[in-house]
Each structure stands twice: as C-alpha cells, then as structure tokens.
Amino acid sequence: MVKFSCEKIDLVFAEIAKTAALYIPSNDKNNKAVFTKWQKGTKLCDSHNTQIGPKDLFFPQTEDLMAFKASNKKIEIIDTRKESEDFVIFGVRACDVKSLEILDRVFLSEPRDSYYAMRREHGIIISLACTRPSEACFCTTFGIAPSEPGADISVWKINNEFFWQANTKRGEELLLKIEHFTTPAEPSEVEGEKQRISVLMKRLPLANLSTNGFGKGKTNELFEREEWAKLSEACLGCGTCTFVCPTCQCYDIKDFNTGNGVIRYRCWDSCMYSDFTKMAHGNNRNTRKERFRQRFMHKLVYFPENNNGLFGCVGCGRCISKCPVSMNIVKVMKKLGGNV
C-alpha cells in the first residue's frame, strides 16, 4: 500500500495518462459527475457516484461490429474493430466494480464476446471507497462492501490523503509508474476509515433490505404473483432504468444501410421496450406488465439461477434516482419479498 497527499492527484493523473487513456469522474456543465477522459485541467469531482456507471467503456451504447461492401456482385466483409488501446478508469465505486463481474458472466462465458473481452483486457480499474453514500445506495443487500472496493487497485480517500492498494499484478505495475509521487503506507492506516464506512452503511435508509424470497428456484413462486399488475401500473415503459443500470446487458444488432453497403452495429436494448426481442411470430411479452416483470425477474431470479446465486443487481441506486415515476427494484423487492 502507498499513499500521497491529495494535492498531488493531478500529477498522478498526468503520469498515468502518459501511457494510457485515463477516465475520471468529473463534473459536466450541469454539475453532474460523468466518467471523462482526462486531459490537463480535468478536475476530479467529489460527487458520490457518476450518473451512469463505467459500463459504456466496456460495452458501448453503440458499436460497429462489422461492415459489408457490395461491388461487382461480390460482398466484402470488413472488420471494423479498432485495436483497443490501454485505458485506466479511476474512481469506480464498489457497486460498479461488482457490476463488471456480472457483465463478465455474460460476455466472457462461451461463446466469448471478443469486443467486450478486448476492452476488458485493456482496461485497468482503480476503485474508490465511498465516503458519502446516497440515501438510494443498497449495495450491502448484495453483500458488497464499499469499504473494500476491490478491482486492480483499491483507493481510500482519508482526510487529505489518498491510499492506493494494488490487488492484481496490473495494479502493482501501475503503482510502480507513479512511485515517485508516493510513500509506503500500512494497511492499518485505512482500518479506521473502513470501520467508519461499515457503520455508515448500517445507517442508510435501505440498509435492511434483504434478498430473502429471491434468487435460485423462485421462478414459479414469483412469476404469477398478482402484485406485478400494481407494481407496473405507473411504469412508462421507457428505457431509463435499463440504460442507467450498470448491469443491464441486453443489446440489439442492426444494419445501417450506407448506400453501397451495410454497417452492422449493436446498441443497448431495453426489455421495457415493446419491440424488444421481436421475432417473426411477434413479441413474447406483449403487455407492459410482462415487460416490467422481466426486468426484475431477470435481476432477482433468472440471473442468480444461471450464475450460482449471483444477483444481477448491485444496489447502485441509479434506477431509484432516475425513474420518471419513481418505481424501482427496491419497491419491487419490498412488495414481493415482504421485507420492510
């Protein structure tokens, strides 16, 4: 473990940015935190978490997969992939670190998604322990500890100092690069802060939310529950909750006609949309209720069913603060799981 004083952070960022693209949470002109590509003058903000997680850097909202060009009755297939460059993301919260594990289960299991895999291989993640969780945070429900954020390097900000702990070989290599800005530190120096965060988490309004009643084997019990009708009543069927969610992973593949060829691209899709997974025979979920149920059943039942009990939600609270009608996974869990 190493430490350095907060004033040096811009120097450290500059050093990292010499060899890799660096993304840090910075305020946009509306004062909202977004992962921003660092350049001289980009300021780290002290916001609690970014508007949208780091998902986009690994699984972009739209990306070209390949292109086709037709000439003289021949079709040429063009590989549009760009060599992925190395990049570093700083300031990823524990929930978002965990969200990548969930995405990995989807994209890195066979058949492996080479687009995602390439970015995962090239990306180094530096996490950041939470100092000031929001009222909407409930990561602890899923066993996530914001005091131990993990990833390649764990970072704690305590008073006027940063503490960086490498957890992987890549993390260690990166610490070597910034060696001349840091001094050695003892793990015991962050113990107090870890304690403080753990105590804080217990005081959050959603601290007692439990996953009881959800998970593997609950499909039959939950699928036909009559509460779904009421829960989905106000839902607009927009894609906000899916698009701000760091773990939502569905996409659509489309062709864009360029005039003399086609660009095949993929883009995020939402199970809340009426044309989601539309097939020749039509849709398999025709009502708002069925689509609404799908999103929550996927996170709380189907995903754990297929992934050894791992839930598909990390409790980041984004859907809570962004849903236009304030309907969200917590309200669903309280209603169906019967917990307070």
Partner: protein
C-alpha cells in the same frame, strides 16, 4: 409548501369513492423517501389514507394515464390535476384520446413544485427526510447534524419558476381558490438561443443532445405523445433506432419529436423533468410555441377543448412559409 392539505384531498376523494360517484382515484403515492412519488390508482379510502401524498414533489402530470386507465373498464376515474395538467387534459380530449365523461377532475391549486436535483446541488446526496414549511424546506441528511433550511424559491423547478398559468382550464370541482393566467418569462431562454450565431446555436444543441441516451422517457411521459405505435418503435418505419448511431440520428429523434408535438405541446414541462440526462427539452418546444405566437397570434394549446392549432388550420391571413427564414436572416 402547498396551501391545500393532503387531508382535504383525501377527504374529497374518499367521499366520491364511498358514494360510488367515482370508481377509483388517480393520484400520487408516497415512496421510500420524502420525494420519490409514484402515480397510482387508489381504490379504497384505506389506500388513500395509507399512501396518498400531496406535497411539493407531486410534479407528475397524471392526465396521460387516463388514456390507458379508462380503457376496458366502466365508471368514472377521479383525477387530481394541477393548473398546468389541466391544459394537457384538454389537449388529450381535443385529440379524442379518452372520453370526457369518464373523468372526474378535481382541480388542485399549486404553489409550484420543487426540483430534487436542485435540492441535491445544495444538500448533496444522503437526504434522510424533508420537512415542508411555509417558505422553506428543511432537509435532514445523514451527514449534517442540523437540518439544512432552503428557501422554497431556490429549489422550485424551472417550469414552475416560469409558470404560465395558475388557472385551471377545466374541472368538475375546484379545491380552494383558482389562480390567474400569468405573465411568465418562459421565452427568455429561447430568445437567448435565437440571438446566438448559427455556429453557437449548433454547438449549444450538440452539447445538450449528445448526452441523450435515447431512453425515450421524454416521449413516454409526454401527454402529446399518445400514438399507439411510435415510429421510433416500429421496425418497419425506417427511422426506428434504439440508440443514436451518430450525432445526426441524435438530433433527428429530437427534431422529429419536436415537430410532431408542435402546436399540441402545452408546455407542461414533463419532458425536461424526467430526462435522466438533464437535457432542456422544453426549450425546443418553447421555440415552436413562441414562433406560433408570433406568426399566427397568441395560441395556447389545451386552453379549450376542441381548439384547432394554427398549424392545422388554414386562414387567408396566414403568413407566408418563408417568413421564418426572412426573420432569421434579417
């Protein structure tokens, strides 16, 4: 703070429910915190007493829900409408989206709604409770010993700061006193944008619209967007797209949407309220409203049921189509 009390609304609704005049009540339901309110259909007095809310966060415009909630069931639905919501209600009726007889409108006077984003800019995250006082909100957080007192005006939402009317244009019953149509400054921002050079203006909109994540919340919440199948959801339409492949498509969606609601948008402000990316969509709509006012005389969509918008009505006095270009170039 709202002047009419929650109790008064509950009492009114309970009486109408219990006497069988209405079948159910479309209102606002409390959430996990003091500000996350969900539109809800209440069917019993007990549900109302347990969960109904009327406070500074009841921004959601309930009128559009009448389109779906009046379908397939009989009886009247009681709906609570704020002044701006009544314009949407009329506009929906003008477009024959539901049957007037199926709604029992209770007009609720409104002091303006608070914007939780503005509050969080001041208090930061970690709000544990909100107390509503006459001219202030008292916000307790997990991180401050003392509640933070904020003057109500500082956190009023943009649309309420520029409220066009405190008058309800339709109702079956009015609670309290009705207000007036107001002289608002709602076109000031539009004027600023009009004064920009075309490059500046392009840059301004590029900056705003490039943040769009195509979640469609602005469309889905909009009371003027009630097509049963939107072109953007229809794979056969040729413009369907779930994400913006490039900056042209980004703007295309918003331009098509703005044109489609032109002359029908009542400026209820819901699009900007719900946008997760804080894009000032109301400015696009207000540009159209301002132009319509200037070209065809003052027109407020939803003011009366059955009014024809100047854009679908022809008179021999109509200005020439190139007038907009002439004005821009002069």
């Amino acid at each position: 703070m709202q002047k009419i009390s929650r109790d008064k609304l509950i009492k009114k609704a309970s009486n109408l429910l219990n006497s069988g005049i209405v079948r159910c009540v479309l209102g606002w339901k409390r959430g996990e915190f003091d500000y996350d309110i969900t539109p809800n259909v209440f069917t019993t007095e007990k549900e109302l007493i347990d969960d109904f809310v009327w406070n500074d966060f009841c921004g959601a415009n309930l009128s559009k829900y009448l389109v779906s909630k009046t379908q397939g069931v009989d009886g009247k639905i009681l709906v609570f409408l704020k002044p701006c919501d009544t314009y949407s209600f009329n506009q929906l009726l003008t477009e024959h989206r539901f049957d007037r007889e199926r709604a029992y409108v209770i007009a609720v006077p409104c002091e303006g709604m608070a914007d939780i984003n503005k509050i969080k800019q001041i208090t930061n995250e970690g709000i544990s409770s909100i107390e509503f006082n006459e001219d202030t909100l008292s916000i307790s957080t997990l991180y401050n010993e003392e509640p933070i007192k904020i003057a109500y005006d500082r956190v009023l939402s943009e649309r309420c700061l520029n409220c066009k009317s405190k008058k309800h244009v339709v109702y079956d019953e009015l609670l309290g006193d009705d207000g007036e149509i107001l002289e608002s400054n709602r076109f000031d921002e539009v004027e600023k944008i009009e004064k920009m050079s075309s490059e500046e203006r392009f840059e301004f909109w590029q900056g705003e619209l490039s943040r769009c994540i195509r979640c469609n919340a602005c469309r889905d919440v909009c009371p003027a967007c009630t097509c049963e199948k939107c072109v953007f959801d229809n794979p056969e339409s040729g413009v369907e797209n779930k994400a913006s492949a490039n900056s042209f498509e980004e703007k295309l969606f918003h331009i098509i949407r703005a044109y489609h609601v032109a002359g029908r948008c009542t400026d209820c402000g819901e699009c900007s309220r719900v946008c997760p990316q804080n894009i000032p969509l109301h400015l696009l709509n207000r540009k159209f409203i301002k132009d319509i006012n200037e070209f065809y005389g003052e027109f407020q969509a939803g003011e009366k049921i059955g009014m024809r918008s100047p854009l679908i009505d022809y008179t021999t006095d109509d200005i020439e189509p190139n007038e907009a270009v002439n004005r821009r170039d002069s």
